[in-house]
Structure formats: structure tokens, C-alpha cells
Symmetry: C2
Subunit: 307 residues, 2 copies
């Protein structure tokens, strides 16, 4: 299966029972796609539900397994509950409680691991071997990437004349899906990734022209701590994305304050990375309309107090 305009349009129809059409907010010529107001508080429900809603009925009782820093965990748990599949989620033990508690509240079983010493994929593999369930990977799967691309599809339906699109990049599912659909429906659109300086695996890979793996990053943008871009996502990003912009931790914090102040919404650090890239001139902007993907809003009040 390839990630195409068609696979993303099919995903948009498939995920309707589970994903909201989120609002687009505007400040001057900046258009913010508010996936922080998405079900589960992040765009992740799009990809997770696209995959989970495609599981053959006879495989549902064996359940699903996901490994995730947080938002994909909750999304998979919501989608699994919807189809009646038991869910096991492998999460880092230091995930924010705003991400762990809602996942448990959806009825998922949570297995924790240490981000610095354990291999989450190996842990997930053990669970899969035991249950015979379906793996719902966080980004590196055509159904996941296609589902995430529906966010940009909606944005371009609402604001068809975007000249630029800025999307944060962790594993790259949202960026790869968004770039695929944006360049298909609006040829000539300039698509940029945005990444924390402290988690610059995609920036480095982009520069080197091959996969670079970095030590476990410790940025406040906990959703973007992937150590390397995906095997499927990276070639798409290489082909369709103009550049990866890097932002500092202080710029992420400032962007969070800016969004709270100006739009009266809460954005998590990862969700503010694209905003920071625009706010601090890290992407070249013409006079035209700029689409900015706000990926999620799951952050603790305790963290907001540190801003």
C-alpha cells in the first residue's frame, strides 16, 4: 500500500465516526489547524482510527498493541474501545500524567518502560507474540500516515489558497501525510517541517540524505522525542518537504504563551513547535497565507505554570 491522495481521501471517510473536524483559527495571514481540540487532544486519533477501523472483524478479539509517548496511546485506546478490541499500550514511565491517565481511562492495559534503557519495540513484540494482536505503530505505516494526512486535507478544504504549510515532525507521520495531500491538492505549496533543536534527528537525516539516529532526546516537546525518522515517512519527507526548521526550547515556550494569549487555547510543547518556527522566522514566509498545524494540547497545568 502506498500513501497517496487517494489513500488519504479514503482515510478521511473511514475515520469520520471517530475523528472530529477541528476548527481553523486565524491571526492575520496565519491559519492554525487546531488538532489540540481533536478527540483525545491530538491529531493521533486520525491515523490510529484509520488503521484500527481497517482490522478484519475476525482479528478484533485478539486486540491491538501500540507503543507511544502518549498521544498515540490514548488515540489507539479510543479506537480500540470503539471497535471492541482489547488494547495493550507500551508507554514510557515518565510520560506526562495528562497522557497516561486518559489512556487508562479508555480501558487500555498500560505497560511502562524506561526510555533510556529499554527497547519499546521489543516489549511490544513480546506482547504481540503472546496475544496475536494487531500492531498499531505510531507513525511508520501507510494507514497511519494516510490518516494523519487528513488534518492537512481539512485545512486545505477550509483555506484552499495556502502558500505555505508548516508541520511539526517527530516520527514524521503527520508531516509525511500532510506533505502528500498538500502537494497533491495545491501544487506549488511550500511545505516545511519544524523540529526541536534537542530532537533534530529528521533535520540531520535531511541534511545527510540518510537516516540518522540520535540518543534519546530530552526536549520539552515530549511528542517529538523519536530518535530517528521513520523508514516510510522519511523518503516522503525527503521528496516533498522543502526544509526542516529547528526551534529552541525557549522558542517553544514563547510560542505556547503566544497561542494561549492570542487564541485562548492550550497547546502542548510539541504542538507549539510549528508555531515557534513561524513566530521566530525559521521558515521563509512570503505575504501569502500560512497554514500552521497545531498537533496537540495534552499538557499538565503544572507544566503551564513553568512558562
Amino acid at each position: 500500500m502506498q500513501v497517496t491522495e487517494q489513500s488519504i481521501r479514503e482515510a478521511a471517510v473511514r475515520i469520520r465516526p471517530l475523528a472530529r473536524r477541528t476548527p481553523v483559527m486565524q491571526i492575520d495571514n496565519w491559519y492554525f489547524k487546531c488538532e489540540n481540540l481533536q478527540r483525545g487532544g491530538a491529531f493521533k486519533i486520525r491515523g490510529a482510527s484509520n488503521l484500527v477501523l481497517s482490522i478484519p472483524e475476525q482479528d478484533i478479539p485478539r486486540g491491538v498493541v501500540a507503543f507511544s509517548s502518549g498521544n498515540h496511546a490514548q488515540a489507539t485506546a479510543i479506537a480500540a474501545k470503539h471497535v471492541g478490541a482489547p488494547a495493550v499500550i507500551v508507554m514510557p514511565e515518565d510520560a506526562p500524567k495528562s497522557k497516561m491517565e486518559p489512556t487508562r481511562a479508555q480501558g487500555a492495559r498500560i505497560v511502562t518502560y524506561n526510555r533510556f534503557t529499554d527497547d519499546r519495540e521489543a516489549i511490544a513484540a513480546v506482547v504481540l507474540a503472546e496475544t496475536g494482536g494487531t500492531l498499531v505503530p505510531p507513525y511508520d505505516h501507510p494507514m497511519i500516515i494516510s490518516g494523519q494526512g487528513t488534518a492537512a486535507l481539512e485545512l486545505l478544504e477550509d483555506v484552499p489558497d495556502l502558500e505555505t504549510l508548516v508541520v511539526c515532525v517527530g516520527g514524521g507521520g503527520l508531516l509525511a501525510g500532510s506533505a502528500t495531500i498538500a502537494t497533491a491538492v495545491k501544487p506549488g505549496i511550500r511545505v516545511f517541517g519544524a523540529e526541536p533543536e534537542l530532537a533534530s534527528d529528521t533535520f540531520q537525516s535531511f541534511a545527510k540524505g540518510e537516516h540518522v539516529t540520535i540518543p534519546p532526546p530530552n526536549t520539552i516537546a515530549d511528542g517529538l522525542r523519536s530518535p530517528s525518522p521513520g523508514k516510510l515517512t522519511f523518503p516522503i519527507i525527503q521528496k516533498l518537504v522543502e526544509a526542516i526548521a529547528l526551534v529552541t526550547e525557549d522558542e517553544i515556550r514563547e510560542a505556547m504563551r503566544y497561542i494561549m494569549d492570542r487564541l485562548k487555547i492550550i497547546v502542548e510543547p510539541s504542538g507549539a513547535v510549528s508555531v515557534a518556527a513561524v513566530l521566530f522566522g525559521k521558515v521563509p514566509l512570503a505575504a501569502g497565507k500560512v497554514g500552521i498545524m497545531i498537533s496537540g494540547g495534552n499538557t499538565d497545568l503544572d507544566f503551564l505554570k513553568t512558562l
Copy 2:
């Protein structure tokens, strides 16, 4: 002029160039009308633009004058700028900077006063005598009340089968307008006001059956610090509202945290008062759908840090 279903429906058409149709968010059977996501960060643009857009063209150059604790100030400044009228706003010197700065940014001239020692209406009268401008009162005017009622009209268009509606009350413009339209389009709907215990002027007036004036209140809900209900708003509230619920300062804070955590949006203390009334069982709730008006979102990050 009377406040009627007709005057509110006319307002809904008139204010379209200036007021947004805000989203309705849902948790279980609770439906939140998000006026914190309104232009200017609060419902006040509805009433202010309804009045300002009705000013005869020959009166525009003499400008407008408003007195306000904050949100009505910004709303009047936005509406005045839209029609090209100079604006003078009389604001308390201790208004939150999140309310004062955007008002100034709209090009309005700000005159400050001391809430505990000065008479803001007298100050506004002096400015009016000098300029011959039009007064845009914060609540006690049929055009203002009708404009505010459009928020409830939209909510009932989106959720027609509401059984209960809960609206905060300061001067009473939003509650009076909302009660008028709600009982007109949904006969039998139960409408409740919600007020801080520390600013219980409408509660006391409601109980006594006549206007009660209290000393300047010091609740954190800075938008609801009116010392008495309006001459026009109160009779409407007496006739159409079932009861006024009182909430404590701690309940307001808890409701702010709840909204931030569950809806990923920022609500100001005044905007959380209706939420607190529902969350803490201060209004009788049946199993049916409850409409909850979130009046605004203009609060400082510094205040959020105290939650």
C-alpha cells in the same frame, strides 16, 4: 425598544461582520458555548457591535464612549474601529493587562479610574458632554441585551433540545438576552443564572424582589463585579430565570482547571462561573442536555499560574 425574539434575531444578522459564530464543545450531556473563542475573547462584541453598527452615520465622527471592566472595553474599541468612530474607554486602573492592552491596541483612548472611590458613569458623562459622542453602555441597553442574546440563539440552533441553560450574571446583559431568546425558541427550557458568592448582587436582588446594591465586589471573576443588576436587565431576569446559583472562589478556580484539562481551552474566571455552577451541583440538573455559556477567555498567564 423592547428586547424580544425579533430584536435578537435582527441583532444576529446585524453583527455578522464583527462577531464570530463560536464553536460548541461537548462533554457527555454538557454543551459549552465557547465565547472565549469569540473575537476580542468574550461575548461582549455581540452587544457592542449591535449598538455601534446602529449609530446613524452623521453621529460616527463624534465617536463612542464606554465604561467597562475590560471585555466590553475591547469589544467597543473593535466595533468603533470597524465603523471609523473614535473611542474613549473608561476602565478601572486595576483591570487585567490582558484586557487593557488589546483595547489600547485597537486605537481607543483609555481613561482609568479607581473602582473603590470614583464613579465611572460620571467620568463617562464628562467625556460625553465634551465630545457629543454615543454612549455604549456595558449591559443596560436594549441593543446591548439583544446583541448578547445572539450567543444563546446560536447555541440553541446547534443544540435545539437543551433542557437547561446556565449563564453567568454580572450586569445581566448576557443572562437577560439569553433567557429571552431561549424561552422564546424552546418554551419550557429552564434558565439559571450563576454568580460569584463575593458578587451576589443579582442573587440578593432576586431574593428580595428589588434592586440591591452591594459594596464593590472583589471576586476573581473581574467581569462580574457589578454592584447591582441593571434597570433593564433585572426585570427580564426576574421574569424568565428560575434561580441564581452562587459559587465560591475555589469552585471558580476548580472549574477553570477542569475546562483547561478537558477542553484544552482557556477560560477567564468570569467565564468559569457557569461551569462551576454545573460542576458543583448548584443548579438542579435532569438527565437532559445542559447548555453552559462560557462567557470569555481573557485572563493573564500569571493568573493561570495561581490555579
